[in-house]
Amino acid sequence: MGRATCRRLAWLLALLPLLPLLAGTAPAPQTLTPIESRPAVPDFTLVDMDGASHRLEAYRGRPVIINFWATWCPPCRDELPSMERAWNRLRDQGVMLLAINVGEDEATIFPFTADYPVTFPLLLDRDGTVVENWPVRGLPSTFVVDPRGRVAYQAIGGRAWDDPALLARVLELREE
């Protein structure tokens, strides 16, 4: 058995007993918390799984969803499929979605994406320096940035990101 397979089995074993717990806490209301003060976001430049560089500032002019996650985080995994469905609805609507992995490397994330395939960019914050600049307390945490580069909404904990009402709030930001 390969080392990567052993590692995947190890975290699956560790997290298996938590599945009933998660089922009992499945996200009910798909809320986005408005941030009235609209603070400017801290800029960053990170590479994705393909080695391409992404600077947040470069996406100015359109709403950007920024998700902080990790492969070992059950609610992060739980929301990824709905995030992919959301991305399929948003990608041609002038909205960007960036998922920033906290503290892991390509060797960990790559096999993970076989089980959780996504087509939006997965950025690598290997040493956790970018996440430290954001008001993140736990994973997953997600921020919606308005076209002027300010935080418009945040969501702590997993969501069903393909919820139409939730997506409508993101799309409305294009008009601002």
Binding site: R7, A10, W11, L13, A14, L15, P17, L18, P20, L21, L22, G24, T25, P27, A28, P29, Q30, T31, T33, A70, W72, C73, P74, P75, V102, G103, E104, D105, R126, D127, G128, R137, G138, L139, Q154, A155, I156, G157, G158
Partner: protein, 194 residues
């Protein structure tokens, strides 16, 4: 068991003296396959859940994140729960949780508080643990302080300096809007090492 500092303990005593206990009951359930026990409190909207974690689960998790066997044993030798907190309240009723004021009470009156990320971070720094595992550890633990807007929730590990199998009460308190609320989880038990 970590002891609250003197100032925090005095503030906690004053604070808890003014706190009204949340009326809802704590439900205890046990997984038929693993025997692991979960305690859950909810008031129809918000929910706090504590689930036992086996020491082997803790070892596997942290060794999978890059900790050595000796380092992961420092966590697994204690008492670890999976803590989930959800704010299901109506709009504008934020829930603010501060773990430093949570109180752990053992039979005989010994009182302490959870062991938080800052204490662990100091230990990992002293032991020269690499950055990668330390980043994972920091985010795997439930944060010491967190504000939950309606619909927000989080899950993370809660570590206590208690031996496997120890029973204790946990006095959890939080701000819900302008109110201070609390619940006493009675007879919680750390998982056995099996």
């Amino acid at each position: 068991m970590a002891r609250p500092d003197r100032g925090a303990a005095r503030g906690l005593a004053l604070w808890l003296a003014t706190v009204g206990s949340a009326a809802a009951e704590v439900a205890r359930s046990s997984d038929a396959a693993t025997g692991l026990v979960t305690w859950a409190w909810h008031d129809g909207a918000s929910r706090i859940t504590l689930a036992q974690l086996l020491p082997d689960q803790v070892r596997a998790f942290f060794q999978g994140r890059g900790f050595s066997a000796d380092q992961s044993e420092r966590v697994a030798a204690g008492c670890v729960f999976q803590l989930v907190i959800r704010n299901g309240a109506a709009a504008d009723a934020a829930m603010t949780v501060e773990l430093p004021v949570w109180r752990v009470e053992r039979a005989g009156g010994d009182v302490g508080s959870p062991r938080l990320a800052a204490a662990w971070e100091a230990e990992w720094a002293r032991l020269g643990v690499a950055s990668g595992p330390r980043v994972a550890f920091r985010w795997a633990l439930f944060p010491a302080r967190q504000r939950f807007a309606p619909g927000d929730w989080n899950m993370g590990m809660l570590t206590l300096d208690l031996a496997h199998g120890t029973t204790f009460d946990l006095h959890a308190a939080w701000h819900a809007g302008s109110q201070v609320r609390s619940v006493r989880f009675r007879d919680l038990a750390c998982a056995e090492d099996r």
